[in-house]
Point group: D2
Chain length 107, copies 4
């Protein structure tokens, strides 16, 4: 499963004058919806993405660009990449392996 | 809503000799299940927590301790806290505000 | 060395109307200077802190509060805690152990 | 200064059987030393990098690969990108703008 990763992305505009940032997040999600090579899922604290490392890095660059296009002059983007090569790991399998050990877990 | 935060926690043991860490994550979730003062939700990349800041910091310290109790000799814990005081913000409202703008978003 | 950690803290106000945030960072540093129980060092991307876990969590809560006191209505604080119990680990020793292997490293 | 960013990178191997990871970090630094298009500086909690966004994403992918080449079967890489387009921002200027406000700051 070389190069297949699970990652989390968070893109935050700074200094916009509005504490709400959902319109920027919604525009970032639009970038992900346009890609057939990546799966994603929005969480309350970021976006989890699954796919080849190169594609994840590419989309990180694209999503980082989005708030600038909407008028922001500063953007902080955080990307956390988790890759395992001894066995297949996916967004679903990561949660499932915890649920097997603790069925009561809320997801 | 002073002091009410949405946060994300990730606890990772280092040097355990096993690339799988779900048994540590499951034990961390057990800490959260024991608390009446916090809501949580496991995601593929961490655990989202909602509650008063002081309680979130307290549980972060407790979860950081868990892998040591299971034999780990090094632990890296990441905590991201998001707090808004001009209006009420929850795990649910953060996702909902994006969905309003982009109903097709996957969650 | 139970409970002695090296950590990194980053406190970012959202929606302030100004892309520069150094006055908030300077005020957060003031909190650290007032503590005798913690060492710190400012880097271009955050503040590295060293001390007992409980004190680090306490100061994280204090620093998270700072931008609200200066008018921000939303704050995102990131805390990464690294703790090792099989041997003593400090801010200095972490860098030194890399320098031993690669003396040309820039710090 | 479009596309010129200050970033922080952290690459952590999981499950290696050794709580020490400096040999992996040293090998990641080697990647940075080979690049003329990026500046870097090692801190106790990561590596701060400065350069064009595309180059930073490229080197993030290269550094993420390093521990696999040294036998790790799982790697977690964290990248935080800070970009400002209304004025020039560098590793040095970020620290300097805080020092101007608080000359006693330790760096």
């Amino acid at each position: 499963m070389r190069g297949q990763v699970v990652a989390e992305l968070s893109v935050v505009p700074i200094g916009t004058g509005d504490a709400g940032i959902s319109r920027y997040v919604a525009a970032c999600v639009e970038v992900l919806e346009g890609r057939k090579d990546l799966s994603y899922r929005l969480t309350p604290m970021g976006t989890v993405v699954e796919g080849p490392l190169g594609k994840v890095l590419e989309v990180a660059g694209q999503m980082h660009e989005v708030p600038f296009g909407k008028g922001a002059s500063r953007v902080i983007t955080t990307l956390k990449i988790d890759e395992r090569r001894d066995k297949r790991m996916t967004m679903a399998s990561k949660v499932e392996s915890v649920r097997k050990l603790r069925p009561s877990v809320r997801t």
